[in-house]
């Protein structure tokens, strides 16, 4: 049995779903950031799989760009987590609800 495009797309869709569920259900900000990374990497897998299918390297270039931007995003995210810790905020996304109404 050969491993083809549908296989890669399914794996990336599953990863995407795992990431999304992680963001929505897990409560630690760090796990939330991790789940976002899982989602981003699922997109990368899709991009690379399609790049292979279509031919050419556009998709792979896009995946590299996504990785770079994901790194920038995590830097800001971790910086915020550190700042929140310094302000002695509870690191639990369920407790982040002073803004609601």
């Amino acid at each position: 049995m050969s491993v083809g495009l549908p296989f890669y797309l399914s794996v990336s869709a599953i990863l995407f779903a795992i990431g999304l569920v992680g963001v929505l259900l897990r409560r630690s900000p760090l796990t939330t950031l991790l789940s976002l990374e899982v989602m981003l990497n699922s997109v990368n897998l899709t991009l690379v799989a399609f790049s292979r299918q279509v031919g050419g390297s556009d998709g792979q270039v896009f995946a590299l760009v996504v990785m770079g931007i994901a790194a920038a995003e995590v830097v800001v995210g971790l910086g915020l987590v550190v700042a929140m810790t310094r302000r002695e905020m509870v690191l639990d996304t369920d407790e982040l609800r002073s803004l609601s109404g």
């Binding site: 989602m39 399609f50 556009d58 915020l80 905020m89």
Partner: protein, 487 residues
């Protein structure tokens, strides 16, 4: 030898000035450690002025596609450059009234310049790659700006929430772009359009790609069902940042959406039109109804900006020359009202040393007559009262909808505006409540003069836009021709 991509430097001069400005501001700040860093803000203002100046000078130039076909510099791009530069300039003036600007003003100015660069780039993007990079450039900058007040837990919370939800939005957008790439073999807008025109109707790859790209962009606009972040982020962020987001982010995201729908996704109008109609109606209804029950003024304005996004979506659905012109005028008219309204709230927060609610703003209009009057004008502009730019914006949108057979959408928008009058009046009545004594006294403090200047400028723009509509409409019409021509 590797062939270098063609770059027309003059065509991207506004972006270059923003980036050079940001770098200069940071360098100057590094040397001024511990001293007054207001100079960084002044440099930032200069960078915005230069950038806007380049765009105004290039107004009317023939369109150029440059930087290896990544960017199209046309009238629409120029219009967004001018608007964003204006928004950035006003925002910095407002931010000067914030006590922490003395220590952190330079960083604030630099990040704001980076955000503005992303916003001008997204308006001119010619491929999904540029679109994504520009989107992230301004989104990540805005996450930092939202959390800029590190002494405030609300600000940190809003920054983190925006980061998590905004990133999901961006990821959804790239996921959609990936599917469109799979279906058409290109990220370039013209390549995608050509591929979609040939694709068999109802192909699942295409449908999935279109819906995900739309969802990602609607997320940034703050339309339903992706509006949850707007009230939290608007409430928690420093007020000057909230004003910038309400004005400039809306302009950038709306123009990007309009361009994506007019260029790459034009062949699949049947797929996205019904989705957008449902979203627009739901956004107008939910935004206006939720705004009715808010006591926190910033939160109320956040819901009103959701409702405004729904109104803008009507213009996007109408499309064509009239719809695009209405959209641009509406966005341009909305910007000074939003920045001005949040500037007045900045002033009130200074006086009151706390959150601006319907209770704390009671009778404050007597304490600060000019700011109070300005807030009244901005709120009436939001509500769409005649003689303000807001009225003309709404009028153009509704008019274009009626002309092109979307009269019922115009009626929905009008009903929403009527509901809007109710909650804007609540604020105005509280502001001039004779039965109450204002517990808030006008505090004289450094930096307040620049806030007043910003409010006066916004006021002048809102009234000029309403009283002398000709210039603004011509200007929006020229920029809108790009969208009407399509591909």
């Amino acid at each position: 030898m590797i062939e270098a991509p063609n770059v027309v430097v003059l065509a991207i001069a506004p972006e270059i000035s923003l980036l050079v400005g940001a770098s200069l501001v940071l360098m100057v700040a590094a040397f001024l450690r511990g001293r007054d860093r207001g100079i960084g803000v002044l440099l930032g203002i200069a960078a915005f002025a230069v950038s806007g100046g380049f765009a105004i000078a290039a107004w009317g130039d023939p369109p150029v596609v440059t930087v290896a076909e990544a960017l199209q510099v046309d009238q629409l791009t120029q219009a967004v450059r001018i608007l964003v530069a204006g928004c950035g300039l006003l925002t910095l003036l407002v931010a000067l009234g914030w006590p922490r600007m003395r220590e952190a003003g330079a960083e604030y100015a630099a990040i704001l310049l980076f955000a503005a660069t992303g916003m001008t780039l997204i308006a001119g993007s010619n491929s999904f790659l540029t679109l994504f990079v520009a989107l992230e450039l301004f989104s990540i900058s805005l996450y930092v700006l939202c959390a800029f007040d590190r002494s405030s837990k609300a600000s940190l919370e809003s920054g983190f929430k925006y980061l998590v939800l905004g990133t999901i939005g961006s990821i959804i957008l790239v996921y959609g772009a990936a599917f469109l790439y799979g279906a058409t073999g290109s990220f370039q807008f013209d390549g995608v359009a050509a591929g979609l025109a040939e694709a068999e109707p109802g192909a699942w790859l295409v449908a999935l790609g279109v819906v995900l790209v739309l969802a990602g962009l609607l997320f940034k606009i703050g339309a339903l069902p992706f509006h949850m972040w707007v009230p939290d982020v608007y409430e928690g962020a420093p007020t000057s940042v909230t004003g910038f987001m309400a004005a400039a982010t809306k302009i950038a995201a709306f123009v990007a959406l309009a361009r994506v729908l007019a260029e790459p996704l034009a062949p699949v109008r049947d797929t996205w039109e019904p989705v957008l109609v449902v979203v627009a109606v739901a956004t107008i209804v939910v935004g206006n109804v939720a705004a009715l029950v808010q006591d926190n003024v910033k939160r109320m304005l956040a819901y009103s900006s959701i409702a405004a996004a729904g109104f803008g979506l009507i213009a996007i659905i109408v499309g064509g020359e009239a719809g695009s012109r209405a959209l641009l005028f509406y966005l341009a008219a909305y910007a000074p009202m939003a920045i001005g309204a949040f500037a007045v709230i900045t002033l009130h927060e200074r006086d009151h040393r706390g959150v601006t609610t319907l209770e704390s703003i009671r009778a404050w209009g007597f304490e600060r007559p000019f700011a109070g009057l300005a807030l009244v004008v901005f709120l009436l502009g939001f509500a769409g009262f005649p003689l303000t730019a807001g009225f003309l914006g709404k009028f153009l949108v509704a008019g274009s909808a009626v002309e092109s057979g979307w009269a019922w959408l115009a009626v929905v928008g009008a009903i929403g505006s009527v509901i809007g009058i109710a909650y804007y009046l609540r604020v105005i009545l509280a502001l001039y409540d004779r039965s109450a004594r204002s517990g808030v006294h006008a505090a004289g403090a450094p930096g307040l003069a620049s806030v007043s200047i910003a409010i006066a400028l916004c006021l002048a723009l809102v009234i000029a836009g309403g009283a002398l509509p000709g210039i603004g409409i011509d200007w929006a019409g020229e920029a809108a021709r790009v969208l009407a021509a399509g591909r």
